[in-house]
């Protein structure tokens, strides 16, 4: 089961796209299509993620292609960085593995009026305060407690529920994907066990690759878009990466268990049992989509509560209210989710189920779902890189609607396994190396910094440039890390 190279066919289509022909594997309904440049495709074929792209192409009702973004890497079932659109009118399926365990894992970005010069002398205190204010790490419960009745309400109403309880500003909701609430949520379909796992975790960061990072806007590439988002060179931003915590993991686990015999029931032949699925219009499919939406709403509440905790920490350190510090939310995007969205397919409008597993929605200017503030520039796409280099803010472009079902990359993508990263850290202090780069890092877990060290990731600029050059998204701003807290 160890890492092996992909040895199947892969054909260059143009400077940014590579095709896995549907003739490669029995059962493929469409071609696989991977976005990458020459360098990235070499790295991508070092593991078996292209095989997973081919496996996803076997799902019933898949439309056009099984897609992968340039941050693709080997996952379980679906690759990370995968996008699949399925058509319910053609027997299309929903696959929980196409969303992942961390339902609505996502990223949000806050801007501030704080300059780098003002922040520098207070950075250590700021990182310490964030670390003590935002619960992070395995086994850490949240500061805000919800009983089961409140949890069910929170999963129905999404982030407006916690904002109304004082955990945020009204303006936050408008700049959250789907306004922080999927209307089809069915908390009644979320198991008791999922509620138990999530009960104490709303408003907690978690561990692994989740983080809260203080950054500075280092470079603006698109002044108009940056202005619309309130981003300016030399000013501080805050990025939050987390998801639905134990509640979401359990919703996915419950679904995989419940659906294990469903493919046989509907005559679906799968190459990997982690791809289990059900027709979108079936009872089983609707059940999962309702529970998934509830978990997605939980995740928006989770990031919302942490947003307010970050504002408190900044207010304490800078001795000014967060409002005066200008800590407005730029945007919040989900990158592990399945949603019904409308697309033009061969000249006809179709409502499709878009699976994004490690991929971000990237709607272009003018899209009806965008808040007025971003209608003219396109949807902000938040792409975290790594702790030592940079992250990027992009905007969706028309090419995303034409070619990738409104989707873009979600990060740099791992290039090293966790084990390899730990081995590569032997005899080094990642903490000191980050300090040398001007980044103060604080992690609760012993191996967190080693496993998540910058070398474990691809160069995020390479990843975003592929999609910039393909007309899927456009670069707006480069953000450089100053301080980071992790679980």
């Amino acid at each position: 089961m160890e890492k092996k190279n992909y040895t199947g066919p892969i054909e260059r289509l143009d400077a940014t796209r590579w095709r896995i022909p549907k003739s490669y594997k029995q059962g493929m309904n469409v071609d696989g299509l991977i976005y990458a440049d020459d360098k990235l495709i070499q790295a991508i074929t070092q593991d078996r993620s292209p095989e997973q792209v081919a496996n996803v192409a076997t799902l019933p009702g898949i439309v056009k292609y099984s897609l992968a973004m340039p941050d693709i890497h080997w996952g379980y079932g679906f690759c990370i960085g995968g996008v699949a659109a399925t058509d319910p009118s053609k027997g299309g399926v929903i696959s929980p593995g196409g969303v992942g365990y961390d339902i609505n894992c996502g990223v949000r970005l806050l801007r501030t009026n704080i300059t780098l010069n003002d922040a520098k002398p207070r950075m250590r205190r700021l990182v310490d305060t964030l670390f003590n204010t935002v619960p992070c790490g395995v086994g850490r419960g949240g500061k805000v407690k919800f009983d089961k009745k409140e949890l069910r309400r929170l999963m129905t109403e999404g982030s407006p529920y916690v904002v109304n309880k004082g955990h945020g500003w009204d303006s936050d909701v408008d700049v959250t994907e789907a306004k922080g609430k999927i209307h089809t949520a069915r908390p009644d379909l979320v198991s008791e066990r999922a509620l138990e796992r999530g009960a104490s975790q709303c408003g907690t960061l978690g561990s692994g690759n989740h983080f809260m990072e203080v950054q500075v806007v280092e470079k603006i590439d698109d002044a108009r878009a940056a202005q619309a988002m309130g981003l300016e060179e030399g000013y501080v931003t805050v990025m939050i990466h987390s998801g639905s915590r134990g509640l979401g993991y359990q919703v996915c686990d419950d679904a995989l268990k419940a659906l294990k015999d469903t493919p046989r029931k509907y005559g679906i032949d799968l190459p990997d049992r982690q791809l289990v699925c059900a027709p979108i219009e079936s009872k089983e499919g609707k059940h999962y989509l309702g529970a998934m939406a509830a978990a997605a709403n939980f995740a928006w509440c989770n990031r919302q509560i942490m947003t307010q905790l970050a504002r408190q920490a900044f207010a304490d350190v800078f001795e000014q209210p967060a409002e005066r510090l200008g800590m407005t939310l730029v945007y919040d995007v989900a990158h592990n989710i399945a949603k019904m969205e409308d697309y033009d397919v061969d000249g006809k409008s179709a409502s499709l189920c878009i699976h994004r597993k490690g991929a971000t929605r990237a709607f272009p200017p003018g899209h009806a779902e965008l808040p007025d503030r971003y209608k003219g520039i396109g949807q902000p796409v938040l792409v975290p890189g790594d702790m030592g280099r940079s992250s990027y803010v992009l905007v969706g472009q028309p090419g995303a609607m034409e070619h990738t079902f409104g989707s873009c990359c979600h990060g740099a993508g791992r290039r090293m396994s966790r084990g390899a990263a730990i081995r590569a850290s032997k005899g080094r202090s990642i903490h000191q190396e980050l300090l040398d780069r001007g980044v103060i890092a604080k992690a609760r877990g012993r191996t967190g910094l080693e496993e998540e060290q910058p070398d474990a990731y691809k160069d995020v600029l390479q990843v975003v440039d592929v999609l910039h050059n393909a007309g899927i998204s456009r670069r707006v701003a480069k953000l450089r890390p100053l301080g980071v807290i992790k679980g």
């Binding site: 890492k3 379980y76 395995v138 049992r273 877990g445």
Partner: protein, 146 residues
């Protein structure tokens, strides 16, 4: 084969998976897989140190294949750790085959002062899950989501 964590116990090892982690467990028989499988999971999470004894746990799991049942068992152990802060300290297996696992475990609450959580295991996946015969016994492969 790459071993992520140096272990004195030859009955299990952790192997690399790009973003996640693999567990490989070996035993002479299927029932003998259960106990080292639990330890492999605990070692993936960190150094989980038992404190005060707690209520025993019972496992009555059914299925259609042994690998799927092993996954269920590990998911139960994960739930005990995450939601109840308990670990199994000794496991008595009455039956484990392709139809069922019947087992009981002594458990203890985690000692919060001595326990060292290293990483969060989100779930026990079905990806490449299998149990296969090897010379002298059986070998299970399980990938956990980190």
């Amino acid at each position: 084969m790459t071993i992520l964590i140096t272990l004195m116990d030859p009955s299990f090892e952790h192997f690399d998976h790009t973003a996640d982690m693999g567990l490989r467990i070996r035993a002479a028989t299927l029932p003998a897989l259960i106990e080292p499988a639990g330890r492999a999971l605990y070692a993936a999470i960190g150094e989980l140190v038992p404190g005060e004894p707690a209520d025993p746990a019972t496992f009555n799991l059914t299925g259609t294949d042994a690998a799927g049942i092993l996954r269920e068992f590990l998911a139960e152990l994960l739930h005990l750790v995450e939601s109840e802060g308990r670990i199994a300290t000794a496991i008595d297996v009455t039956q484990f085959d392709e139809h069922a696992l019947i087992a009981s475990a002594q458990t203890a609450n985690l000692n919060p002062d001595k326990t060292d959580f290293r990483r969060e295991v989100k779930a026990i996946t079905y990806h490449e899950l299998n149990i296969r015969p090897i010379p002298g016994g059986v070998e299970a492969t399980v990938i956990v989501d980190i």
